[in-house]
């Protein structure tokens, strides 16, 4: 297990390097620099600005500076938010995004697994079809459609909840964003756990448990739950990526000062350092989280501890 962990950790390093490299060069390829103003600057000022941000050096030197800074946790100053460094913006925005993302993930796991297992247990009944149709709806309706509709209904229609804003994380401000983020996840998790559960219920040991006369509820929760969760856990990696992508839209629509919102603002303003910083930050975060997911998977499924993950797929 320990070797497995370190092997995965070692594998993560080139990936992180690659992310930094790709995002760096993608941004360099962009037409238009951060100091292209409508009004042309005096050449000396332009040169000073370029020197300040190392823009006068060759590209590989720029990359070297950038890489060294990142290793020290310094993403540089934001080009647009003049008084902030990118690290400060990340420290400001990320906790907000994290809070929403975590809540959405927990909600999705609870409801999704329960709904999926329920549908599998009632396989091919009307209830099963209902759950599956609902989950297909959840997958099909994009979050940027769900969000305005929720606002239309709950904020404008019955004015029960605020239409947006963060309000220092007041509960009523969080409800709609969390629901919006969680809906597609619930749908995917329900489908995954349903088909996984169907397979598990066919296993001989489940039949044995039934023939021993154990109550169904006991069998489902004690014998079927853990193996059913395996595919759900391997879906957590893509789910995290989906949550982060979703947070961009959700934060934009509900006007929440999270990291996703800074990212879009940065992208629209050509704020090189901010955009790169966010991409690299999220890249590293995702790799770390995937490592945890893998370890969790190994803990749940002893086969993997011995053979590595690829044998199971």
């Amino acid at each position: 297990m320990v070797t497995y962990f370190f092997r995965r950790l070692l594998g993560a390093i080139p990936t992180i390097f690659l992310i930094i490299l790709i995002s760096f060069f993608l941004i360099r390829l962009a037409p238009g620099g951060p100091f292209d103003f409508d009004r042309t600057l005096a050449p000396e000022i332009q040169a000073n600005l370029n020197a300040q941000y190392h823009l006068d050096k060759p590209v590989y030197v720029q990359f070297g500076y950038y890489f060294l800074d990142i290793v020290q946790g310094d993403f540089g100053p934001s080009f647009q938010y003049k008084n902030y460094t990118v690290t400060e913006l990340i420290v400001q925005g990320f906790p907000v995004s994290l809070q929403l993302g975590l809540s959405a993930m927990l909600l999705a796991l609870l409801i999704g697994v329960a709904a999926g297992m329920f549908a599998a247990y009632k396989q091919n009944t009307r209830l099963d079809h209902l759950v599956m149709t609902l989950s297909m709806t959840g997958i099909s309706i994009p979050n940027f459609v769900v969000a305005p509709l929720l606002i239309l209904i709950f904020a404008i229609g019955v004015s029960l909840l605020p239409a947006g804003g963060w309000n220092n994380g007041a509960i009523q401000n969080q409800i709609l964003p969390i629901i919006t983020l969680a809906l597609p996840l619930i749908a995917y998790i329900a489908r995954i756990s349903r088909s996984s559960m169907i397979e598990v219920l066919r296993m001989p040991y489940i039949r044995t448990a039934y023939s021993k006369g154990l109550p169904s509820f006991y069998i489902v929760t004690r014998h079927a739950l853990k193996p059913t969760l395996l595919p759900v856990i391997s879906y957590l990696g893509p789910a995290i990526a989906g949550l982060i992508t979703g947070s961009v839209v959700v934060e934009q629509i509900y006007g929440i000062p999270g990291l996703g919102r800074y990212f879009i603002q940065g992208a629209l303003n050509r704020d090189y350092t901010l955009v790169m910083g966010v991409v690299v930050f999220y890249g590293i975060l995702i790799i770390a989280l995937n490592l945890i997911v893998d370890l969790l998977y190994g803990w749940l499924d002893p086969q993997i501890r011995l053979h590595g993950r690829s044998n199971v797929r």
Binding site: A241, Q252, F263, V279
Partner: protein, 296 residues
């Protein structure tokens, strides 16, 4: 050696063809059938709808700015804040969304099939490395990279095609690789190898053509994903630019005006959801029909 001769003999026999069997099974899936007819309706509407209307996509009707849907003034879906006919714009938007869906899906097929076939065919270390890369890419928030691309290279429609296609090949690569692993064990691949066919020839002539069935399924499942990505970008203002429009851009416009004029949101949102919903149902139905083992 050409495989064509063999296949004609095979398909002329009394044995039911795979295609027919799949179709028979698909016909029993009511959700998929309804979805197919709905998609047909949307496609036809998107193609000829704008021609039937007396307005064009950027015609401004100064007498009807932000009016609600009505039959009497000819604006079936109402107009937007600039007085443009929302029916025409929704149809044009559906057309662009569908077009992007198809083209970007083809791009992703091209990449995914080759990548997966190569990984599966060569196996061993090549496979391990290639699939590890897919695993890593899988967990990336790819939308971020597309957004980066959009920011640098302007919001060119062709770039959108390619960028979206280039990020959506992962699923296909995975599925194709799995299929290839079993295909390469088949007798005819061995036969081709005995005849001296090169690896590349075998992949091209014997592996890829046999992936057809599974690829059809993934086409129907990738199209909605692609449409979704495009609308996501357009929603954020990074996709299709005025005066052209897509469903995502229309939803975005509508969301801003929804408090006073909810029809601006509701019609495009309805069409977008309908398209995604139907494609997903068809893909699901097809997958079940092709591989009944997976279905239940």
């Amino acid at each position: 050696m050409s495989g064509d001769i063999d296949s004609t003999i095979l398909f002329e026999g009394p044995v039911e063809s795979t295609g027919r069997r799949v179709w028979l099974r698909l016909k029993q899936n009511r959700a998929a059938l309804v979805s197919m007819s709905l998609i047909m309706v949307v496609i036809v509407a998107a193609l000829i709808g704008p021609m039937l209307s007396s307005y064009s996509i950027d015609d401004i009707d100064y007498d009807a700015i932000a009016v609600a849907p009505s039959i009497s003034n000819g604006h079936l879906f109402g107009t937007d804040g600039l007085g443009r006919d929302l029916f025409v714009r929704t149809m044009e938007g559906s057309r662009i969304s569908l077009l992007i869906g198809v083209v970007a899906t083809l791009v992703s097929l091209l990449i995914g099939i080759h990548y997966g076939a190569i990984a599966g065919y060569y196996g061993g270390r090549v496979d391990a490395v290639m699939m590890r890369i897919v695993d890593i890419l899988y967990s990336m928030p790819f939308m971020f990279f597309v957004i980066l691309l959009m920011v640098f290279f302007g919001r060119n429609i062709f770039l959108i095609f390619i960028a979206i296609g280039a990020i959506n090949w992962l699923d296909i690569a995975r599925i194709v690789r799995g299929q290839t692993l079993s295909l390469k064990q088949q007798g005819y691949v061995e036969a081709a190898r005995i005849y001296g066919a090169s690896h590349w020839q075998i992949i091209k002539r014997h592996i890829i053509p046999n992936l057809f069935g599974i690829v059809i399924v993934y086409i129907t499942l990738t199209i909605p994903q692609v449409i979704l990505v495009e609308s996501f970008l357009s929603f954020l203002g990074l996709g299709i630019q005025e005066p052209m429009t897509s469903l995502g851009a229309l939803v975005s416009d509508g969301a801003e005006e929804m408090e006073s004029s909810s029809w601006m949101l509701i019609f495009p949102a309805l069409f977008l959801s309908l398209l995604l919903f139907c494609f997903n149902f068809i893909g699901d139905g097809l997958r079940d029909a092709i591989d009944p083992k997976q279905a239940d």
